[in-house]
C-alpha cells in the first residue's frame, strides 16, 4: 500500500488527493482502523499558531539617491540588525523600541516591538524607516528618514531560525509572588498553569521521528507557501520519549522561510507579554503524506497520547534546575484544569488551538484545489541517531 510523493502529487494535480486535517484523521482511524485509514488518506494536514520568539524578517529597501550604507537602522523606532550589505537588514521579533520603559516602572506592557513591525508591514501599513551611517566615498549619505511600504521593498521574507517546537512545558509558579514570564502571568502557589502547543494538531507531534518533515518540506507559513530550510536552533531529538514515541517536552524544531509579501496579518501577529517583552505569533501548517502505515500511526496520535512536563518558572527554570514535577497530557490540559498537588489548577493555552485548526483546514483546501504540492525533503532532520547533543553554555 506504500505511496510515493510523486503519486500523491499526481493526485493533487488531478484534484483527487484525499486530504483530512489531523482531527478528522484521528476520527477516521477510530472508525475504520489504522490499516484502512492509511490506505484511504493521502495527506493529513497539521498546524500550529503561537508565539515563536526566534522569528524575524530579512528586508532589502533598495538604494536611495545619494546612496547610504546603513550602519544602524530602525523601523518604527525598533532597531533592526544591519551588519550586512548596504541596504539589507534583519528585523527580529523580540526587539523593543530604544525608548521602551521595559520593566523600570512596574511590569512593562511591551505594547510594540519587532513582531508588531512585521505584522504592520504585512498589513500594508507605512512603516517609518530611519538609518544612520558614517559615510564613505561610494555611500556618501549619513542619515535617512522616510517611510517604507512592503509593496515597494525589493525583498521582505520571513526567516525564522526556530519555530514549531515539537512539544513544550507546562508553566507554573510555586513561589508566593506573581511572576511575569514568556509563558504569561503566573499566579503564586501554582494557582494557574499555561501551556503552548496545539497538541494533536501540532506538526512535529504528528511526525515524532521526522519521517516526512525535513529540510526542503513545503509548508504553509502565515498564509504563504514557504519551506523548512534547516532544523531549528536548539533542535534536540534526544529528549525522553513516552511509550508512543512522543518527546516529553521541547525537542525537535524547524527553521522556516517564506515571502512576507504573500502573508496575512491574521496569521503573523505581534505579541506583547506583560513584564517579559514582545514576540511574534506564527501560523504554520505542515502536510504529512501518509506514505505508509507507520506514518499513519503517528499522524493519528491524540491529545491523550501526548504529554508535557510541568515546570516551575519561579524556582527551577531561571536556574536551569531539572526537577520532575510530573507530566500531564493535552486532553487534560485542554479540559481547563489539571490536578497539581491535590488541587485543581486552571489551565490556559498561549498557542491557539482554534487558529491552528483553521490553518489545517486552509492548507487542506489548498491541496484539494490543486494549489499546494508536496515537496520531498532534500535531507531529513537529524533524528535520535544524531551525534550532536544539546549543550548548556559553560561560563568560564
Amino acid at each position: 500500500m506504500a505511496k510515493t510523493y510523486e503519486e500523491i502529487n499526481e493526485k493533487i494535480k488531478n484534484k483527487k488527493a484525499v486530504v483530512l486535517n489531523a482531527e478528522e484523521f484521528i476520527e477516521l482511524v477510530d472508525k475504520k482502523g489504522l490499516k484502512e485509514a492509511a490506505k484511504e488518506v493521502d495527506i493529513v494536514t497539521t498546524a500550529t499558531f503561537g508565539p515563536m520568539c526566534s522569528s524575524g524578517a530579512f528586508i532589502n529597501t533598495g538604494h536611495a539617491n545619494p546612496r547610504i550604507k546603513m550602519q544602524k537602522v530602525w523601523l518604527n523606532d525598533v532597531e533592526a540588525y544591519s551588519g550586512l550589505a548596504a541596504v539589507d537588514f534583519y528585523i527580529g521579533a523580540t526587539q523593543i523600541p530604544d525608548n521602551d520603559p521595559e520593566n523600570s516602572n512596574g511590569k512593562g506592557l511591551f505594547k510594540y516591538g519587532g513582531g508588531h513591525v512585521i505584522q504592520d508591514l504585512i498589513a500594508g501599513k507605512d512603516v517609518k524607516l530611519k538609518a544612520t551611517a558614517y559615510g564613505t566615498d561610494c555611500y556618501p549619505r549619513k542619515e535617512i528618514e522616510t517611510t517604507v511600504n512592503i509593496k515597494e521593498l525589493n525583498e521582505a521574507y520571513l526567516c525564522n531560525p526556530r519555530n514549531c517546537y515539537q512539544n513544550y512545558g507546562i508553566a507554573i509558579n510555586k513561589s508566593d509572588k506573581t511572576i511575569y514570564t514568556y509563558m504569561g502571568v503566573l499566579k503564586p502557589n501554582a494557582a494557574n498553569a499555561t501551556y503552548c502547543s496545539a497538541g494533536q494538531l501540532s506538526p512535529l507531534l504528528k511526525d515524532p521521528f521526522y519521517k516526512t518533515i525535513g529540510i526542503g518540506t513545503r509548508i504553509w507559513l502565515g498564509g504563504a507557501q514557504g519551506y523548512v530550510y534547516w532544523q531549528g536552533t536548539q533542535h534536540n531529538p534526544h529528549v525522553k520519549r513516552n511509550k508512543n514515541g512522543v518527546p516529553i517536552g521541547g525537542a525537535g524544531t524547524l527553521a522556516v522561510v517564506g515571502d512576507l509579501k504573500e502573508m496575512s496579518p491574521e496569521f503573523i501577529a505581534g505579541v506583547s507579554m506583560q513584564g517579559y517583552g514582545v514576540s511574534l505569533a506564527v501560523g504554520i501548517g505542515v502536510p504529512i503524506p501518509i506514505l505508509d502505515e507507520e506514518i499513519a500511526k503517528y499522524a493519528a496520535l491524540k491529545d491523550e497520547d501526548i504529554e508535557a512536563p510541568i515546570i516551575d518558572y519561579a524556582n527551577d527554570y531561571p536556574v536551569c534546575k531539572p526537577r520532575d514535577l510530573g507530566t500531564r497530557n493535552y486532553k487534560e490540559l485542554k479540559s481547563g484544569k489539571i490536578m497539581i498537588d491535590g488541587k485543581d489548577v486552571p489551565t490556559a493555552g498561549l498557542s491557539s488551538y482554534s487558529k491552528a485548526l483553521k490553518i489545517a483546514n486552509l492548507l487542506k483546501k489548498e491541496i484539494q484545489e490543486g494549489k499546494f504540492f508536496l515537496n520531498k525533503p532534500a535531507q531529513p532532520l537529524p533524528g535520535t541517531e544524531w551525534e550532536e547533543k544539546f549543550k548548556p553554555l559553560k561560563v568560564r
Partner: protein
C-alpha cells in the same frame, strides 16, 4: 480612569447621587469595615453587586452601587481613596476586538468572574459574556494580542 469623573456630579441638578463603582482594594484594607463606615459615618446607601477577595492575588474587589446626598458621597469617596482603594466608575465597557483575538485563552484564568471562558472544549474558542464582566480590567494587560480594550 480619572477620579474626576467619579467625583463629578455637576450634571446632576439634584442633591442626591447614585453611582455604580468598582473598588479594588489592597490586602491591608480587606479587614477594614468599609461598608459599615460608609453607612454610619457618611450616611450612604449601598448595594453590593459583586464582591471577591482573592488571597493569591492579594487584592479585594467590590462592585457597589452607592447613593446618598452629594456632599456625603464626595466625603465617602475621599474616605475610600484615603485607604488606598482604587475606584473606577462602572460607566465604561470592556470590548473584545475579534480581529485581534486569537482564542489563545491566556485571559481566561485571569478573569475573576468567568466572563471570559472556553465553552466548547473541542473548538477551544474563547467566549466573552459581557453580563458577567465587572470591568476589573485584569484581561487587558494579560492579552498577548492587545484584543481587550476599555471603551468609555
Amino acid at each position: 480612569m480619572t477620579n474626576e469623573k467619579i467625583k463629578d456630579f455637576s450634571y446632576t441638578k439634584h442633591s442626591l447621587v447614585k453611582r455604580k463603582l468598582v473598588l479594588h482594594f489592597p490586602k491591608k484594607t480587606i479587614d477594614q469595615p468599609i461598608t459599615y463606615k460608609l453607612v454610619k459615618d457618611y450616611n450612604l446607601v449601598f448595594n453590593i453587586l459583586k464582591a471577591k477577595i482573592d488571597n493569591e492575588q492579594e487584592e479585594g474587589l467590590l462592585v457597589i452601587e452607592l447613593s446618598g446626598k452629594d456632599e456625603d458621597y464626595a466625603k465617602g469617596i475621599d474616605y475610600l481613596e484615603s485607604l488606598g482603594i482604587k475606584l473606577q466608575p462602572l460607566e465604561k465597557d470592556i470590548e473584545r476586538d475579534l480581529d485581534k483575538c486569537t482564542h489563545c485563552s491566556a485571559c481566561v484564568v485571569h478573569c475573576p468572574t468567568g466572563a471570559l471562558f472556553v465553552k466548547d472544549r473541542k473548538t477551544m474558542e474563547v467566549e466573552f459574556d459581557k453580563e458577567k464582566c465587572i470591568l476589573c480590567e485584569a484581561c487587558i494587560p494579560v492579552c498577548p494580542f492587545g484584543a481587550m480594550k476599555i471603551e468609555y
